[in-house]
Symmetry: C2
Subunit: 407 residues, 2 copies
């Protein structure tokens, strides 16, 4: 028995473990400090009442022989796929419901989709990045090359025609930077993918934060994307489902690639993967997800999103006052800031993101996430999350301003 | 972009599609026939009241900010892993809860576990077999060799010392045959795996049907298995969770393999796989699964199992009366019978399992699953499932007897 040696090439993911250790150590020596945590990317608002009601009703159905539901092992229930289809129609994207696959979250599918691609494909991954894109490709032994996000491109890198990629990861609104591609930029990517016969894996987990703005919230708002892109989305951020687990993946019927001269529909391959290695999502959960798209449910989840967006504005306003460069915070729950540096002759960004983490923890008692944890190009930057309670957000903003002002 | 060409080597899985087409065609031409379906392997009894109550309570917790639960991305909640640990302790198997991983079902994990093994391992798969074992290895391009189940070994094949395997699939109580390995037979497999440095993937999805008998319901009841086996289990059959989705996988801490001279714990690799490509199971579902192990919950699920076992006895008794060879039906919801053949000079088993399917459908109006759908060694055999309502089972048994008697 030979283990998959590629696993030994994974970087140990100490990021959140190290954060926890540092926070615990500080709390031990400063038991009176009230630490505010803006480090995690997890929602904090409870589920919408309409969602909870739908799940309770579905649980009750499962307790009677006549309404009990067993296996459902293909793309998921029609009622939910139709509701998602309606949501996309409102964005101007027409989907056939056979293009929609219900999943247990965007992360699982963004990892598992690689099953249907050969190991010799080259992956293009923007940096800084959600670590799952890198790790899942390392596990398969794929060549990876990176594209740097930085202040000059607003952490929205565009394709370099001289580089040839087969698999392209895009996440917009972005985790960790909160930056959002506009239509022209995404068209640039779609054109590049089509020229290079590449497939874009578009992570739309934060799409609801782009809603209302004139920004794309689906790659399929760009003509031609249906021939070169797969989109992953989730109810985690949209409706607070991080602990409930439901998402969906869109694989257009027009997305085909040649194998030995024959056109193969990627949708067929993904269906085969899922029916073989996945048994679908709980009926109860799917009923809860369906309720997100009811009039009442959608109003309730939008209230939560507005709450987080207001939180983000409070953080962003403090940074603006401090004259600190940042991106995100408007169409995203994340604010991505350039670490200020108070040392003589040092520029902003010279301070390492871990130094800034320590400084913020020990002076303002605020926890964030060092940008270096998201890749080399994240060094010198820092992520603050707007998930949390309003009072904490106001207090964190006050402390950040107060402390950075006197450094 | 190059697709994974191994997918094109998959056999199309027309089994249940073909069954549906044949049943529909017959029903159209015989609208008055009341067809009884014993073809599927899906449960029919509703969820236990204790499970539904626990899920409703958990949904209510998710609707309040104070009790809301978000991400939980490692092995699953301790409360459920401790309950599973208690269940195994009662079987005489001591587990550390870090050896238990909560999953969304045995199928997903039995497929996904292959991620952590190199593609060059050779898989040994008994035939007939649950098709997922074959398909997931074909997808990865692995060499597969088969070990034949047949009447003389009671569909419980034992290892052949001359064959070298790296990955071994065992399913006991077996799907589709219902046969159950005894301790001596499983010890044979454990010894073989240890001698060959192989890893056994033990599918215990039907373990609850072996309970009460002096038959192993966990591979870890065999000494030494903790150094060579991974066990997959599920609440699907135990507690009717086919539509709720929860299972668990046991990866013993003592299971290690060398990579470049260093001992690597398989548990560490699987944890890394799951935290990277899986976000865990709904909190609500995990609370439902925990309730399975409460005194009340376990009594309720055992009532359902006893109901299915009584169904199986009814089918088995009819076959005994008809003097038809079969296995299963005692410690399994499946009865696996040798197709009788009424043609002159023909022996039982000569009739193809699809012929028998047609004959049973058109004369007795009973639907089963042709053994050929589970592999070459299934030809000439047939699976009947005891999942269903009692009245249907009695009526199906009566019709089978009546019709086969006059053939």
């Amino acid at each position: 028995m030979i283990l998959n040696k590629n696993y030994l090439n994974l970087q140990d993911s100490y990021l959140f473990v190290t954060i926890e250790q540092k926070v615990s150590a500080f709390q031990r020596t400063h038991p009176d400090a009230r630490i505010i945590r803006l480090g995690i990317g997890d929602v904090t608002r409870p589920l919408a009442p309409a969602v909870v009601e739908a799940m309770k009703n579905a649980a009750a159905e499962m307790s009677a022989a006549k309404t009990f539901r067993g296996y459902r092992s293909d793309r998921g229930y029609e009622f939910l796929r139709e509701a998602i289809g309606g949501y996309y129609a409102a964005k101007g994207v027409a989907l056939d419901i056979s293009e929609i696959f219900i999943s247990d979250g965007a992360k699982s599918d963004a990892g598992n989709i690689l099953d249907i691609f050969a190991a010799e494909n080259r992956a293009l991954i923007p940096d800084p990045v959600y670590p799952v894109y890198v790790d899942t490709n390392v596990m398969a032994g794929r060549d990876i090359f990176y594209l740097s996000g930085n202040e000059s491109n607003g952490f929205l890198p565009l394709p370099d025609a001289s580089q040839k990629a087969d698999i392209i990861y895009l996440c917009s609104p972005n985790n960790p930077t909160g930056a959002v591609y506009d239509r022209a930029q995404l068209k640039n990517w779609v054109d590049y993918a089509r020229e290079n016969d590449a497939i874009i894996l578009f992570d739309a987990a934060y799409e609801i934060f782009a809603g209302g703005a004139n920004l794309p919230s689906s790659i399929y708002q760009i003509p031609g994307a249906e021939e070169c892109a797969i989109e992953f989305c989730s109810f985690s951020k949209t409706a607070g489902f991080t602990g409930v687990r439901c998402g969906y993946t869109i694989v257009p019927l027009k997305l085909k690639r040649k194998v030995d001269g024959a056109d193969i529909a990627v949708n067929d391959l993904w269906l085969r993967r899922q029916t073989t290695k996945f048994n679908g999502v709980s009926y109860i959960t799917q009923r809860g997800a369906e309720a997100v798209f009811s009039q009442e449910g959608f109003r309730q989840v939008q209230e939560n999103i507005a709450y987080y967006q207001e939180n983000a504005k409070i953080i962003a306003a403090a940074l603006t006052d401090l004259n600190i460069w940042f991106t995100g915070g408007e169409h995203s729950p994340y604010v991505w800031l350039k670490c200020p540096d108070d040392r003589p002759d040092k520029c902003p960004g010279d301070r390492s993101s871990w130094d800034f983490f320590d400084r913020l923890l020990t002076t303002a008692h605020v926890v964030g996430t060092p940008g270096a944890g998201f890749g080399a190009s994240g060094e010198g930057y820092f992520r603050l999350s707007a998930f949390g309670e309003r009072d904490d957000m106001i207090e964190a903003a006050r402390r950040i301003k107060e402390n950075i002002n006197i450094w």
